[in-house]
């Protein structure tokens, strides 16, 4: 369920200004409210967009978090590519590669 909560936190950040303020003012407290692994917390904190992508975070959710954390469009695409190079193919969900199924 951990991937689910990673995505849920990002969904809240994307849609809710109050949650975005907490990201700026109390990120650790915000993270603590979700059932996340240490790796997920670290990826969210850094942020490691490539790792979040490889973990299976839905692209429509991750896209906005990347923009919020300052990734310009091409940098965001490159971060996902770098994630695949560093961590391997997407592990689960719709974003797995067709040839890895």
């Amino acid at each position: 369920m951990s991937l689910y909560y990673t995505q849920k936190l990002l969904y809240q950040i994307n849609r809710d200004p109050a949650t975005r303020r907490r990201l700026e003012e109390d990120f650790e407290g915000l993270l603590a409210e979700y059932e996340l692994t240490q790796k997920e917390r670290a990826a969210l904190r850094k942020p490691d967009i490539g790792l979040l992508y490889v973990m299976g975070v839905n692209g429509q959710i991750l896209m906005h978090y990347a923009a919020l954390r300052g990734y310009e469009w091409n940098a965001y695409l490159e971060a996902m590519r770098e994630g695949e190079r560093s961590y391997g193919p997407v592990r689960t969900g719709l974003y797995t590669r067709a040839d890895s199924r």
């Binding site: 849920k8 994307n14 692209g59 991750l62 896209m63």
Partner: protein, 273 residues
């Protein structure tokens, strides 16, 4: 008075958010087709515009994901995304609560629906509105068909929703326009953003514009995912429009692949009979 207009169009956020990075000739051809669609909608003198869209985790999440949800609010707001990122300023968009309620009640004779009295529009609705109702003065009734992740409604249910919506519209005195927005093939939020399967898109459009029900409903999700990408599931919005215009053919006004927009930019209109 029933349905007075029906069509489909693309909604990718790059269409407005990355406009300056597109090939100007291709971009302007698509923008012109959207302008032509705006003129056609205005000429049909609608009281309301029903937008059958596929939202992207803006209002609905996997904790409570409706298969199909219809807005029932007096007004809406959008875009929910960053205005600069999308290239569209935030607006309040009028709804029509009483008509929403009547349509929902009628459609529920045939299709179970969720309804929502709060709804912040994402690019899936805002990009079409930016071109089609740029003054944001035409009341909108939003529809969300879950296209983001399985379990998804079978295509035949999307088609049947369209048929039920048509029947509901025919029972009303208001003049109702409907558009479906989505797809067709695209891999937008992936390292392959910009990949477009033009052959697959054009085949799908042929089936849509000839309203070939059996061919439209024969697509299998696994094949759609492989040939059309994660966001190819948004063909449900187009198929709902096919259901709403059953027996009617259509015209393709624009299909132009624009990689920086991450989609084959499409405008098509059904000839209502």
């Amino acid at each position: 008075m029933a349905l007075v207009f029906a069509g489909v169009c693309s909604h990718a956020p790059g269409i407005t958010g990355r406009a300056e990075r597109a090939d100007p000739q291709a971009r302007d051809a698509f923008y012109a087709a959207m302008g032509r669609m705006r003129d056609a909608i205005e000429a049909s003198r609608p009281d309301v515009l029903v937008v059958i869209a596929a939202e992207h985790f803006a209002n609905f999440f996997m904790n409570n994901m409706p298969a199909i949800c219809v807005g029932m609010a007096e007004h809406y707001e959008g875009p929910i995304e960053d205005e600069k990122w999308l290239g569209i300023a935030r607006h309040r968009i009028p709804g029509n609560k009483s008509l929403s309620r009547e349509l929902i009640q009628e459609v529920m004779n045939d299709i179970d629906l969720a309804y929502a009295e709060e709804w912040k529009f994402d690019h899936g609705i805002m990009v079409p509105l930016h071109f089609l109702t740029p003054r944001y003065d035409l009341p909108v009734i939003p529809v969300n068909v879950n296209c983001q992740g399985p379990p998804l409604i079978p295509l035949k249910r999307a088609y049947e929703f369209g048929r039920a919506l048509r029947r509901a519209c025919e029972a009303r005195p208001e003049r109702i326009a409907v558009i479906g927005t989505g797809g067709i093939s695209h891999w937008p939020a992936t390292p392959d953003s910009g990949r477009i399967n033009e052959v697959w898109d054009r085949e799908f459009l042929e089936n849509l514009l000839h309203n070939r029900r059996e061919a439209l409903l024969a697509y299998r999700d696994e094949d759609v995912w492989r040939e059309g990408g994660q966001e190819g599931f948004e063909i449900r919005t187009f198929i709902a429009v096919a259901g709403a215009t059953e027996g009617c053919a259509g015209e393709l006004w624009c299909y132009v692949p624009i990689p920086i927009f991450a989609v084959g930019c499409t405008v098509a209109v059904m000839r209502l009979s």
